[in-house]
Amino acid sequence: MAPCEIDTTLVSTLSIPTLGVTMADIRSLEDAVADLVHDGDTVAMEGFTHLIPYAAAHEVIRQGITDLTLVRMTPDVIYDQLIGAGLVRKLVFSWGGNPGVGSLHRFRDAVENGWPRPLELDEHSHAGMANRYVAGASKLPFAVLRGYRGSDIPTRTDTVSTVVCPFTGEELAAVAALNPDVTVIHAQRADRAGNVQMWGLTGVQKEAALAADRVLVTVEEIVEELTPRPGGIVLPTWVIDAVSVVPGGAHPSYATGYSTRDNDFYQAWDPIARDREAFSTWIEDNVRNSEGALTR
């Protein structure tokens, strides 16, 4: 029997498109932010002190992308800047401060006085936030933890509830999944295919990235090969939308192996942020009218 045509009607109606898995584009930060971050988006810029994507946030400020819901376990100075710049409608978080220094004054001013605009809060504990990302990455609608017991936190959020264990009858906390529209992270390096490698404190970055619809990664450099590193994790190119090369893009945070934390900047931020005018001038001079903040 010679090869002959098959019933193409049947076959083609059955042809299921692939998931649309695509490789990450390596592109300029300006283009990547413009393409991936939109007005009204829910955006997670994660990093536990380490690898905080400052440069990408500054590009968001320069582009004036607004009405954002920002998500992060530990919003610090970068979120203070975005909030003070008037781009943030809502903050989803568990601890907001300038680590080792004190308060986030722009965050407080927004919450307490509505300047430059009111800031809605969705507030959790770290354990709750971490599990919300886990649920998001797992594409589950919620996660379970033994948490929030005796705390008033559930009175101020609609994303904490309870579930009862069907085996033991124990009532446990349920937290709603977090699935940001975009997650932005900074990593040490990527290869030319857009696979990303990071090491050191990697926090909840993997969960935040896998929970998101779109992922933008800034990296210190592109390398020929991602040689395995102790403590290293790799995010394959097909879960990332864009990689932008921004050396020092975590400054004043740091990138293990590339830079150290600029503790002076965190301390210097306190008086800048205390004053609305000083803040606005700083943002104009160092972010809106300059990309210098990236290379400070």
């Binding site: 029997m1 010679a2 090869p3 002959c4 045509e5 098959i6 019933d7 049947l10 076959v11 109606t13 059955l14 042809s15 299921i16 692939t18 998931l19 898995v21 886990v134 990455a137 797992s138 594409k139 589950l140 696979n195 993997k206 969960e207 896998l210 991602l226 994790i233 790799v234 995010l235 394959p236 097909w238 879960v239």
Partner: protein
């Protein structure tokens, strides 16, 4: 690289006059089914053979994912188990097993799930748990579910590969380990299963695909030298046959060479060196 004479391979099945076995026909066609895939969750055995052959032929960029935790494995020989050391050594990333099932599989990151089966029914449901061996005999024990129920549920689509016989292609499963299309169209959606489910079953006789109207497996292609009658006889239910049944292209010399090289390299070290 030249093709090893068919007789020296480890495959079962008869070697046709054309110099390849029916198993090789199955394996080559299973690999071809991955031509457009981006990421593939690979079961051990025949699916692994197919996925590795696809990387060596029609789809060099195919990302292989094994339930042992490896993402982007690029083995140079057929892994003997889903925990083969080379899978980890050549991977883009190795992740803990719970992460693999939760973030990557349930997370909807995998394009194609490639499964084997002990029993399959007309709606591509799968049994790998127990078989009924008759009223006076104890249930026959199979390996169990492994990753299959969630692979079949969560991958974008599912391919299956298994040998064709009335023992495997049954009227009624003794146990539903893994849902394919349930009782018909809409059942997957009703159960909230994200993926499209089985889109092709590749056997040593031909290829079956579900009719979208009924979700019933229909014979759409036979392999060279295989008659529709032979497929009917090897199927435990009244097999529906497409109006026009195609014939698969015979394996190319390149495909056969690649398949045999993979298999030769996959033999235990003591036997090959």
């Amino acid at each position: 690289m030249t093709a090893t004479p068919a007789g020296t391979t480890e495959t079962t099945g008869t070697t046709g006059t054309t110099g390849f076995t029916s198993d090789e026909l199955m394996e080559v066609n299973a690999a071809r089914a991955l031509a457009d895939a981006t990421t593939c969750f690979v079961g051990i055995g025949l699916p692994s053979t197919a996925a590795n052959l696809a990387r060596a032929t029609v789809n060099p960029g195919l990302v292989l994912i094994y339930e042992s935790g490896t993402i982007g494995s690029k083995p140079t020989r057929l892994p003997l188990s889903i925990g083969d050391g080379e899978l980890a050594e050549t991977a883009d990333a190795v992740v803990p097993v719970p992460e693999m099932f939760n973030y990557w599989l349930q997370g909807g990151r995998i394009d194609v799930g490639f499964l084997g089966a002990a029993q399959v029914d007309r709606h591509a449901n799968i049994n790998t748990t127990v078989v009924d061996r008759g009223p006076d005999k104890p249930e026959g024990r199979l390996p169990g579910a492994g990753g299959a129920p969630e692979i079949a549920s969560n991958c974008g689509k599912v391919l299956m590969v298994l040998r064709h016989s009335t023992r495997n292609f049954v009227e009624r499963l003794d146990f539903v380990t893994t849902l394919g299309h349930g009782g018909g169209p809409g059942d997957r959606k009703k159960l909230g299963m994200p993926g499209a489910g089985p889109t092709a079953v590749i056997t040593d006789l031909g290829i079956l695909r579900p009719d979208p109207a009924t979700a019933e497996l229909v014979l759409t292609e036979v392999h060279p030298d295989v008659t529709v009658e032979r497929v009917r006889a090897a199927t435990g239910w009244e097999l529906t046959v497409a109006d026009t049944v195609g014939t698969t292209e015979p394996p190319t010399p390149q495909e056969l060479a690649a398949l045999r090289a993979l298999k030769a390299a996959g033999k235990p070290a003591k036997e090959t060196r």
